[in-house]
Structure formats: C-alpha cells, structure tokens
C-alpha cells in the first residue's frame, strides 16, 4: 500500500515524435502530487506512463525508468496488465460501465480478475464506497445501473472502483474538469482523506485546485512550438505558488500565459 514512485530520465515517444523530454521526479508516498502546466505540455502524457496506459496507443514507447518502491515497471519481465492492477487511474470524464449495476461497477476490477465470493465482494464494495464518500448516497440502490447517478456521483463511483482493488498508487487525470463546483469540492475533500492511505498523482489545469489539494507540484511546459514537453520545476506546493525558482513557473502561476 502507498508506495513511492521515482521517475528517472523518462523520454516519451509517439512513433518518431518526441513528446516529452527527460523527466526526473520523485512522488512521495501518502502525499498528493499535482502536475500542472498549459495545454499540450505533456502532463497527461507523463501521468499515463506511470501505469503504462500510453501503450494502448500503437507506436507509443518510453526510454528511462519508472520505479515503484525501487522496482522498474518497465523491466522486460513485467506485465503491463499487472502494473495497472497496482496503479489505479481515474479519468477526466466519469466512465462507469453501462451494463453493470453500481455494486458491480465498484467491484468490476475484482470480478474480472476472478474473485467470485458474493459476501467478499459485497464487503469490498461497501468499504470502497465508504472510502469514496458515496456509501450513504447509494447504499439503498446498489442494484441500479451505474449510469443512473449524477456526474459527481459517477466520478466518485469511478474512484470507488479504482480503490476497491487496493492499489499502491492512484492516478487522477483532471478528475474534476467535467464536474460542477459543488461536486468538485466533494472530490477535493475526498482526495484529502484518500491521501492517508494512497499515493496520489493528480493532473489538473486548474492552478487553484493544485494549490488547494497537493503537497508537491510539478510544473510542465513546452520548450517551444513543435518541441517536446519538459519538467520545468518540481517542488513543495507552497514554494511553487509563493516563490518559484524558475521564471517560467512564476509567469504561469501569475497568469501571464497558459
């Protein structure tokens, strides 16, 4: 549970296109790390390499290492499917499985991996839904379809689904951009609680959100038009937002571009 991630000299390529250049950073366990930066700077791309999701796109590859508590997830003996079982992901738009009920959605990761014991699954579903602050709202309608919830509830359902398998790390790719402000606040409160048990990395284009929820912040930027994205500065959130080292960071934070 709650492992640290060390990224060492990570380069990301789509076919011949060099998308991200030489990223090195360390994500401490039981902390929230935010990736911020303008559109197209590579922050989502880097996030996806942390659970090897980029490999879904043909031709995508990386050079470098991503270490989970010291073990390289890109070692040749490692199965990407296994990596994704220990590093979970929540997406920008809530995507509950439409053919499953709420309860089945939550335990989908376990059911598809073969767990069949009904009592066990029910217990796990309750634990995960409580962990996602959704239990009280849905406990009486666990059999209803996953799509019958509001947007904010659906996203918490997806979070419950991700934590039900007890991952070591939880990756969140702009989890609130499709939600209204009230649901966003609910998710941010949830993140503050989840970090007690999980290592969280969150990509957000909302700087204030990064300032609110994260302990460390990584600022990414494009070197120029057509150039690969790069990590400009990585530091404690407080430092990044009050007294950053790099001028580019300062410019982005104060809204001079982005």
């Amino acid at each position: 549970m709650a492992k640290r991630i060390d990224v060492k000299d990570l380069d990301i390529y789509y076919g011949k296109f060099h998308a991200v250049d030489s990223v090195t950073l360390s994500v401490p366990p039981r902390n929230v790390t935010a990736f911020i930066g303008p559109s197209g700077c590579g922050k989502s791309t880097v996030l996806r390499t942390l659970n090897r999701m980029h490999e879904v796109i043909p031709g995508a590859r990386v050079d470098g290492q991503v270490l989970l508590d010291g073990e390289d997830i890109y070692a040749s003996s490692v199965d990407p499917v296994q990596v994704r079982r220990t590093i979970g992901m929540v997406f920008q738009r809530p995507n509950p499985f439409p053919t499953m009920s709420i309860r089945d959605n939550v335990v989908a990761g376990l059911k598809l991996a073969g767990t069949n014991n009904k009592k066990q699954l029910d217990d796990i579903a309750e634990r995960a839904l409580r962990g996602a602050n959704l239990w009280t709202e849905v406990k009486d309608r666990l059999n209803k379809p996953g799509g019958s919830l509001s947007g904010g509830q659906q996203q918490r359902l997806c979070i419950a689904r991700a934590i039900a398998v007890r991952p070591d790390v939880l990756l969140m790719d702009e989890p609130c951009s499709a939600l209204d402000p009230i649901s966003t606040l609910a998710i941010e409160d949830l993140i503050a609680e989840l970090k007690k048990d999980y290592t969280i990395v969150i990509v957000t284009h909302n700087m204030q959100q990064a300032a609110r929820v994260s302990d460390q912040t990584a600022f990414f930027n494009l070197a120029g038009v057509g150039q690969p994205g790069q990590l400009v500065e990585f530091n404690d959130t407080e430092k990044i937002f009050s007294n950053p080292n790099e001028k580019a960071t300062e410019d982005y934070i104060s809204g001079r571009f982005g």
Partner: protein, 308 residues
C-alpha cells in the same frame, strides 16, 4: 416627375424585401411536388405487394392444419395438407446458417475494430467484406455446389443450403456488428485497461455486452433476409413434400422452394389449389420475417444498457 422626389422617399416607396421571382418559386414548387411524389412512388408498391400477399394468402392460414401438416398425403390439385415441412426446413437451414455465420462475422468485426484498425490487412478485409456483400446469391450457391457437391462429393442437403446462406449472411453481420462496436466509447475500454483487465477480457466482458443490443438487432435482420433467399435452394437441395428433420440428408422443403415448386407444377388461377398454396406460403414467410423483426426489437430493448 420623379426628379422632385427625394432619394429617401423613392427608396421608401419600394417594398423593403424583394419578392423571389415567380420563376424561382415555380421551380421550387415543382421540386417539392416531385420529391413528395417519389416518396409515394416508393410506398405504393410496398403497400400493393403486402396487400396482395395478405389478401391472396389469408385463406388457409387461420387453420391449424396449415401449420401442422405437410403435402405428402395430398395430391397437387387437392385441397388440404399444410406447410409445416416447409417451415421446418426454412427454420433449420437458417438457424444452422446463423450458428456458423454469427460467431464468424462477430470475430471479423472484432478484428476490424479492436485489432486491425487501419492496418493493411484490415483495409483489405473490409474491402473483401464489401465485395462479399455484392456476390449474387446464385454465385454463392454455385460456389458451394462446386466445393461441397462436386469436389467433396457430398450429397445435396439442407446443410449445403446453410453453407451458401452463410456466405450471404456474413457481410451483413460484420457490418452491423462493426458499427455497434465502434459506437462503444474508448473511455470504457480505457477504464477497463486501467483496472488491469487484459484486452481480450475487456472485449468479451465490457465492449461486447455494451454493444450487444445493437448486434442482436443486426443479426436478426440478417436472418430475416436469408430466409427469403431462393437461388441456393434450387441448386443445392431438392424439394420434398414430406417433413424431413434431417438437415444433412435427403430432400428438404422450405417456404421459398415450396413456392417455386408450386409455381412450376401447379395452376396459378385465382381460387385454384395452387394459387392458395403459393400465396399462403408467401404470407407465412412474411409473417415469420415480421415475427423475427419483432423479436429483434423486443430483445434488443431488453438487453440494452439501462439508464434508470
């Protein structure tokens, strides 16, 4: 004496909006009339054909013997008997066709959407599926004749017909399954991968169930279409007036084959035995096709992912 009027007065006395010229209006009206007319021209034969089938065929349908007897014990100009043998043949041949064509067509659709994407093999495959959909039913029948009967030396049978029907059903299944699979948002696939579910399981347990309702619809429509095919029946199986449950041996009746046989061997005068049989069989076929379409709509609604 327009020179004494000021410019503004002159402009104000003309209508503000120019009328569209009568010529343009007339052309527009003509186009509208022609277009509405063409729709009616399409509806008219449909109504006429259905009316003919229903009115001419209704005579023997409401009687149980029509559905439970065959023509084995009845002479060709004798009233009586039924088309059970033809119904059984049609259903058996088409269901056997579906058993082969549906999994095969589904796999091709899965290949095109999930694996092949835009690769060379996928492009060639999708092109060939298009070509296959344009192959005439008689050519499909001749191919099976050349393969099954001449080369492999096997006898004519209902099963040979099923094989020819497979060639005709596959492209329809592939196209509709492919469309349904493409509609499933990539979001869902990604959510599944992110949970550590392998690709094949994602396809089987997430993608297919989400697309299932549309696929079932498409399959049923394809089935209804092959039920009416006659050419393979002429070349690949013989007509029998008796019920034959054996798909693999001997002659077997089917509704289109029965209609063709009656047409060739019996009188078509209104009111004659042949007339009643042929239109009765036509109406039976239409009823079965309509039933299949109805079942397809109901089942696909039941299976569709629910919102509430």
């Amino acid at each position: 004496m327009t020179s004494t009027l000021s410019e503004t007065d002159r402009l104000a006395s003309e209508p503000a909006f120019q009328q569209v010229s009568t010529r343009r209006k007339a052309k527009n009206a003509l186009a509208t009339v022609l277009v509405w007319l063409s729709f009616l021209v399409a509806v008219a034969p449909l109504v006429w054909v259905l009316y003919t089938v229903i009115v001419n065929g209704i005579k023997r349908i409401p009687f149980t013997n029509w559905w439970t007897q065959d023509f084995g014990s009845v002479l060709s100009d004798e009233v009586g008997g039924g088309v059970m043998h033809a119904i059984i043949g049609t259903l058996e041949q088409c269901l056997m066709c579906a058993v082969i064509a549906v999994p095969l067509g589904l796999l091709v659709a899965i290949y095109l959407v999930e694996y092949g994407r835009n690769g060379r093999l996928a492009k060639i495959t999708t092109f060939m599926v298009d070509i296959l959909s344009g192959v005439p039913s008689i050519v499909a029948a001749l191919f099976i004749y050349a393969l099954w009967i001449t080369t492999l030396g096997l006898p004519r049978s209902g099963f040979a017909v099923s094989l020819a029907l497979v060639l005709l059903m596959i492209p329809v299944v592939v196209r509709s399954a492919e469309e349904m699979l493409r509609i499933v948002p990539d979001d869902l696939r990604e959510a599944s991968y992110a949970l550590g579910v392998p690709k094949w399981k994602t396809i089987m347990k997430i993608v297919l169930p989400t697309a299932l309702s549309g696929i079932i619809s498409g399959v049923m429509m394809a089935l209804a279409r092959v039920m009416g095919e006659t050419a393979p029946l002429l070349v690949l199986v013989g007509y029998s007036a008796y019920v034959n449950w054996d798909l693999f041996n001997n002659n077997q009746a089917s509704l289109p084959l029965l209609m063709n046989t009656e047409r060739a061997t019996n009188s078509m005068e209104p009111g004659s035995v042949g007339f009643d049989r042929i239109w009765g069989a036509a109406l039976t076929l239409v009823i079965i096709i309509a039933l299949i379409n109805l079942i397809a709509t109901v089942v696909s609604r039941l299976v569709a992912p629910k919102k509430k």
